[in-house]
Amino acid sequence: MTLATDVDVWREDPTGAAASTEPLALSASAGFAWGVTRRSSRAIGDAVTGDPGAPSDDWVYRLSHAGPDRDAAIAALHALLLRAARFEVNRRGAVFPNLHGADLDDLACQSADDAMMSILRRLADFRGESRFTTWACKFALVEAGAKVRRHAWRGREIPLTAESLSADADNAPLPDAHAEAQMLLIAVREEVKQHLTARQRAVFVAVALNDVPIDVVADRLNTTRGAVYKTLHDARRKLRVALNARGLAIEGERA
């Protein structure tokens, strides 16, 4: 999807607000229509950043009002998002040698486009708690990071089943040749099998024992990253209790 397409999609907002020179209603789903003015948004930005020259208000104003100024703002923002996305894919690409230059740049472009869509959709969510550019770049970096991880894991088998626990745990990054470490793993493995549900076990084996990225696991389980982390959190809580009961003290709970 190209930037031009993204912009067109946005302009075809069924509210029809995009054709107006009035502030655009960008977040109907949030039940909040933009009514911000230059004065009010500048006050918000200044109060938070402490920088009188902070242009956050200008970004929001330009992006939320139809006209050539908005087109220029969108173009400038897209250039910034692309820079952030390239920064991230190059950073992550070094970790995944199977990714090549063309793949990485394609991922960066897709990430910038997707980030632009998200930003325009969520413009009303910007509360001025950071500079607008930091807030916006967050979307591009997170998009790019997730895309690189998904691309790098494409076609790779992910241990998600209970049956994979024994075989994969033997190769997990936790243990080394040390006998005590092996015993520790055995204890963890026993508690995993005894106390976790099938889904908690799958998530824990993949994420905690085998370092599979959480968003990759979310894709395979057809759910969200947040839902997977909630499952992992619940699994960890059960294991923490069980391992403590075995006398395996965990830092932070020694007191």
Partner: protein
């Protein structure tokens, strides 16, 4: 019997994650930009004081920690300025 050594305790902690209450991934995303700017300006303790659950989540969620590290590095590089 398994001997409980500091090294093993560290391994266990990585496996079972932080004991403290955490933000969700969605809440972490929402707060990430403000948190990073507070870190960059040297007021990270203020950030942690404002939301101790944020630090706990970053310790427990490697994906959000990656996102945090990337945004922090990008902001520190000065590349967030358009142009």
């Amino acid at each position: 019997m398994i001997q409980d050594t500091p090294d093993q305790s560290g391994r266990l902690e990585r496996l079972v994650g932080p004991a403290d209450q955490e933000l969700s991934c969605e809440e972490c995303f929402d707060f990430l930009d403000a948190y990073v700017e507070l870190e960059v300006t040297g007021t990270a303790p203020s950030a942690d004081a404002r939301s101790p659950k944020m630090r706990a989540h970053l310790e427990g969620c490697s994906a959000c920690r990656d996102d945090h590290d990337s945004l922090l590095a990008f902001v520190r590089s000065g590349r967030t300025d358009p142009g």
